[in-house]
Symmetry: C2
């Protein structure tokens, strides 16, 4: 408590852009949160716990090579109900997918609600029902939860934080830092649907009839990919906040490699492209909730791609680029006319409260 103003600069404050999944957010996490927590290593959406982390509990707790994976994710999406899903199903899918990106099969979920006073009980019921149905479809039980209520105006209806516990599939070692020069970049399906669906629903833009969120669980797709490619599946990431561009930038930086994609090989649905053009958005920066990008060793890439295409959620899978020798973290796109552009991370905020 001081009565004199700060001399030169304004007190730094959290901006909406700090939650974007882009560069501002990476800086906030790196310089404030990870620094204070003393955590190191590549930015992953889920943590792996080995036998050494778990420690003995009398007898060994974990069997040989059996690793646990833990992930947590807050959901503040608005509107809470949108074409293709709602905050309940999204919260389950998002967390299941974070586990899957570390090669884990989900075994338990925990749900924590922060509810604003005045929310219709029926809406809480519908969101819970949707989360329960999504969890049942995934095949993972919700084992525990928590509910807090805050006064009117102290939250925007309902926030959901979902935590997932998983067990790593045998032979699975995907990590953001494991990309190698020569890896093939595979994309499981078209991009941009979630972000444009949310924006359209929020602003009443009229694309709702054409664009639905791609929110869906990806753990079965990942299991099929690991079955086909094993440890040759080096990197898995679902490009959510910040879109494909931010995901590729993070992965390239974490692996110390460069990535080159062929822009026209990245599928963007016609309605998504139209919405993005109208709104001045780059589809590469728009959030997804039902696709993944993988870096796979070239010898296994054809088998992994075939395994992806054999599943409905990977039916549109294709190779979209390569991991190449170059400055660590550089992502470029070759365009139709043969030129090359830098694909940068989202800088600030494109679209707040997308998930």
């Amino acid at each position: 408590m001081t009565t004199c103003p700060l001399p030169h600069e304004e007190t730094e404050r959290v901006l909406l852009g700090h939650g974007s999944g882009g560069r501002l957010m990476a800086e906030l996490i790196d310089q404030v949160i990870a620094r204070e927590l003393g955590t190191r290593g590549p930015l992953e959406d889920a943590a792996v716990l080995t036998a050494a982390d778990v420690g003995p509990g009398g007898d060994p707790v974990l069997g040989p090579g059996a690793d646990l994976v833990l992930s947590t994710d807050g959901f503040v999406v608005t509107p809470r109900f949108f074409p293709g899903g709602d905050i309940g199903s999204l919260a389950v899918h998002g967390t299941v997918n974070d586990l899957a990106m570390r090669g884990a099969r989900p075994i338990a979920l925990a749900l924590a609600f922060v509810v604003e006073e005045g929310l219709p009980v029926e809406e809480l019921r519908l969101v819970t029902r949707s989360a329960a149905k999504a969890a049942q479809d995934v095949g993972v039980p919700v084992v525990t939860g928590d509910t807090k209520v805050v006064g009117r105006g102290a939250a925007d209806g309902l926030y959901v934080t979902t935590t997932g516990l998983g067990v790593r599939l045998p032979g699975a070692r995907p990590s953001a830092a494991a990309g190698r020069v020569g890896d093939v970049v595979l994309l499981s399906g078209p991009i941009g649907a979630h972000g444009t669906a949310i924006l359209s629903a929020r602003e009443g833009l009229g694309f709702e009839a054409e664009i639905a969120s791609d929110s869906r669980p990806l753990h079965r797709l990942v299991a099929a990919m690991l079955d086909a490619g094993g440890e040759d599946v080096h990197v898995l990431r679902d490009p959510t906040r910040g879109g494909l561009a931010s995901a590729l930038n993070e992965l390239a930086a974490a692996s110390g490699v460069a990535v080159e994609v062929v822009e026209d090989d990245v599928p963007v649905p016609r309605a998504v492209a139209a919405a993005c053009e109208l709104l001045g958005l780059d589809p590469f920066h728009v959030a997804n909730e039902g696709c993944l990008v993988a870096f796979v060793a070239p010898r296994s890439a054809p088998d992994v791609l075939a395994a992806m295409r054999a599943r409905p959620e990977g039916a549109g899978a294709r190779a979209v680029g390569r991991v190449v020798d170059g400055p660590a973290g550089r992502v470029t796109a070759r365009t139709l006319i043969g030129s090359t552009r830098i694909v940068d991370m989202l800088i600030g905020e494109q679209l707040p409260r997308i998930c």
Copy 2:
């Protein structure tokens, strides 16, 4: 979407009292959340996952008798900094304690922030630092996290959801449903400090100099109790929201027994008693964050009590009552003058946003 109003009754809405830890909250969880999720069994603050729940992952994931415990908890306390702690340390202690109440040693924490646009970055830094320090003191790493930013007015500064993963200590089987007639009711220390400290700090009542929150980790106390009493430690619970009265009511109901406490054996600090008298609060309903109540088989109760008293956080431990034969869920207190009163659960809201 319907344009005609609901015919007879108002749409039911979530009230502040639904977050109180009392009867309204139990009803909301029972009739909406647990019902939709299809969960059953006694209300526990953490879930136990056995080898059967985890399933095989090639080889068995969990060693024989090694059970995992998962707990999640949202923290919305206001003010975020208060005598004896802050939202960061409270979030760590609260979750560590929920694990401990199932007999688990904590092995990993996950932190999820919902931040309101405009929060000073320095405040986020201080809260993170405090959580990091609390985790270090406990001896548990924060392994993963998430940060969401919502617009001004869409949250009250900062909410923290903490999830803890633990491993059950050998021989530990405490459960809310395991209380038996004849058990001794042990209380680890004085009650009422957390709730009165928060209220005093929030409202500027002037008790701040005298009352600090009892927020602290209880996992070492629990380890000592289990070491002394093993499976004779039937029930463990930290009486947070809703206070000792609500905790005893829940435990008595879950175990299908009655509980009788001796009112004057329950230690209430002088300053807490004064604050409660001034504010018209019953100390039995005031939240705690650093004490626990246990139901212990009579043959082990002296040893367990001695083990509690040998630790600083259990120095004030004492036997405060008995599990008795009677209507399931009935809790009574014998008073100084020999009369008996019913100790009911907190009904609605005593003090919102206490944790």
